[in-house]
Assembly symmetry: C2
Homo-oligomer: 337 residues x 2
């Protein structure tokens, strides 16, 4: 019931509407894309497409506009991801290569993505869950205060001040540090709780209170940061666009970590290279926006997600290309460091 020409018409409508932001009529369509048929024919096809729910008209005697369902079909079957230009590629590479630490990588990534897509970019910090311990450091501060620093293989550093139950001299701290590192070095963070479970018992009685305190802070750090930090950039790009749901709602969502998380989608165990596209009403919140997201991470497992958020009326092929490319580059950077 949807022959090739009808699909071509749908594709043309999406492309035109995306670029002009105005309902597109049959005459303009027949002219601009060389469909080799008359406006009347196009109208018939449009009527069919509307019947099926792929397009709609804002009011009688206006052109047609794609529905969410129409965009969905377009993304799934009528378009292909548009690769970036060589210049863009090089720009990404040099821009990301200059990053000095994880914070910097994430900041640069989110800005880059916002600039490339002219949308709002969202990047989640690499989750601790899949990381491994690279080093645990205990730094004496005062008599009863030490700083616990946890360094992961993704370059992430977590630090906490620990208030000890007793005064501990530096040599003992050095010893404890050695013990901790021997126990945890290279282990996955998820395994840390079980690995340290019986640690106090394996130590001399006098060390146990101190170790217990340190471990409790360590474990706390792990669970506390389990809900991951998310940053965004490019909010200025929202200014031009009009959202069916108010601009206010979008801005609020951007500052709500939890909501953003849900929007980006659950971190899957799949290979990270699959692009997720959620269009309009397919989103849990923010029904008026679309989201293009994907996972990224060093090696095969997905560490976190990144993507862009924009109006339903966005250039999906270009956006998808940019998201995919940036995800690849940042994965590369993370793997290298």
């Amino acid at each position: 019931m949807l022959d090739d020409r009808k699909l071509a018409v749908l594709r043309a409508i999406v492309e035109d509407y995306v670029s002009t932001n105005e309902p597109v009529g049959s005459r303009a369509l027949a002219e601009r894309h060389n469909l080799k048929v008359s406006p009347a024919t196009v109208r018939n096809d449009m009527a069919a497409l509307e019947e099926e729910g792929y397009i709609t008209q804002p009011h009688t005697s206006a052109g047609r506009v794609p529905t969410d369902k129409g965009y969905r079909l377009f993304v799934d079957r009528l378009s292909q991801v548009k690769p970036l230009s060589g210049a863009e590629r090089r720009a990404i590479e040099t821009f990301l290569a200059g990053a000095v630490d994880l914070d910097d990588v994430v900041t640069r990534t989110v800005r880059l993505l916002a600039q490339l897509t002219r949308q709002v970019a969202v990047v989640q910090y690499p989750t601790l869950t899949r990381s491994t311990v690279r080093h645990v450091e205990l730094v004496p501060l005062h008599d009863r205060r030490i700083m616990l620093v946890l360094i992961t293989n993704t370059g992430r550093v977590e630090q906490r001040v620990v208030e000890l139950p007793e005064v501990v001299e530096d040599t003992r701290i050095a010893h404890l540090r050695a013990v901790l590192n021997a126990c945890l070095d290279g282990c996955g963070l998820v395994n840390v709780p079980e690995l340290v479970a019986d640690l106090p018992e394996r130590l001399p009685v006098e060390d146990r209170p101190v170790v217990a305190t340190i471990l409790s802070v360590l474990l706390e750090t792990l669970v506390e940061r389990h809900d991951e930090k998310i940053v965004f950039a490019g909010a200025a790009n929202l200014a031009g666009a009009d959202f069916s749901t108010g601009l206010r709602d979008v801005l609020e969502a951007l500052e709500e970590q939890v909501v953003l998380m849900r929007l980006l989608g659950e971190t899957s165990t799949d290979t990270p290279s699959t692009l997720t596209v959620r269009i309009g009403s397919e989103n849990p919140f923010l029904r008026g926006t679309s989201i293009v997201a994907t996972g990224y991470g060093s090696g095969d497992n997905e560490l976190a997600r990144l993507g862009v958020l924009g109006p339903t009326r966005m250039d999906y092929p270009v956006t998808m290309g940019a998201v995919r490319a940036v995800a690849r580059y940042v994965s590369q950077i993370l793997a290298a460091s």
Copy 2:
């Protein structure tokens, strides 16, 4: 030429306009604030105030609206900072007390301020310049890689991976760590460059290349972070307000660290408790917005700045009260940790 009653009229105009967002006319003024005079008298005063440039009318036969100059006079002479309610005070205290590290303090502060003022809040990270070194840590990662961690007295932690020119065994690293700490512990960050200048010469020849590498990264870290990080929150509060300069400009400014920096104002050496208010055209960029800012920091010296940004038409007494209170509490928190 500006007698008490005229000032009272100006105050009333500002207050009314701030709360209603509509040009205020002579009748409404005479009624709502009990000025004990007739609208006609108020009109005369208004004419005088307009003559002096404190108020203006959007068009003939509309009410009056304060000019930037009018707001300035209001802030300087006609209003006083409104202290927070007890409930708000307690809310701030408990909310900030829950912070686990510096990042958390800053994040919580900026959100809190945004929520209290219903404006966009901006907080600058405590500058490294005035901080002192609490500890320098060298963490062996692989043969020729170590991580350099710098901990300051404000709880800030900077880390960098250092690629060494040769393989260095752990004991030597431990020795270097001790040397570095002996040299730098407790010193102001600004003094670090001169303190380490002759360090390589004081060490055995074989250590010099390694130390030089480490020091170069250390110095780099100091200068690189000299331009400080700034975060903001509450962008959603912009949605309702209307800015003479477009919303887009404001959002862009918020994401430009440099611009934000200039807007917050230079960090002064004054005692940090003075509030800075920049109204409309007094701002270097973003002529259509007002900024209420102040310094904060542990003890007497100003470590960084925080404030809010909103439309010129804002409730200055309340905003100033909130900014001042939050700055005090966060200073307290930083001093304690």
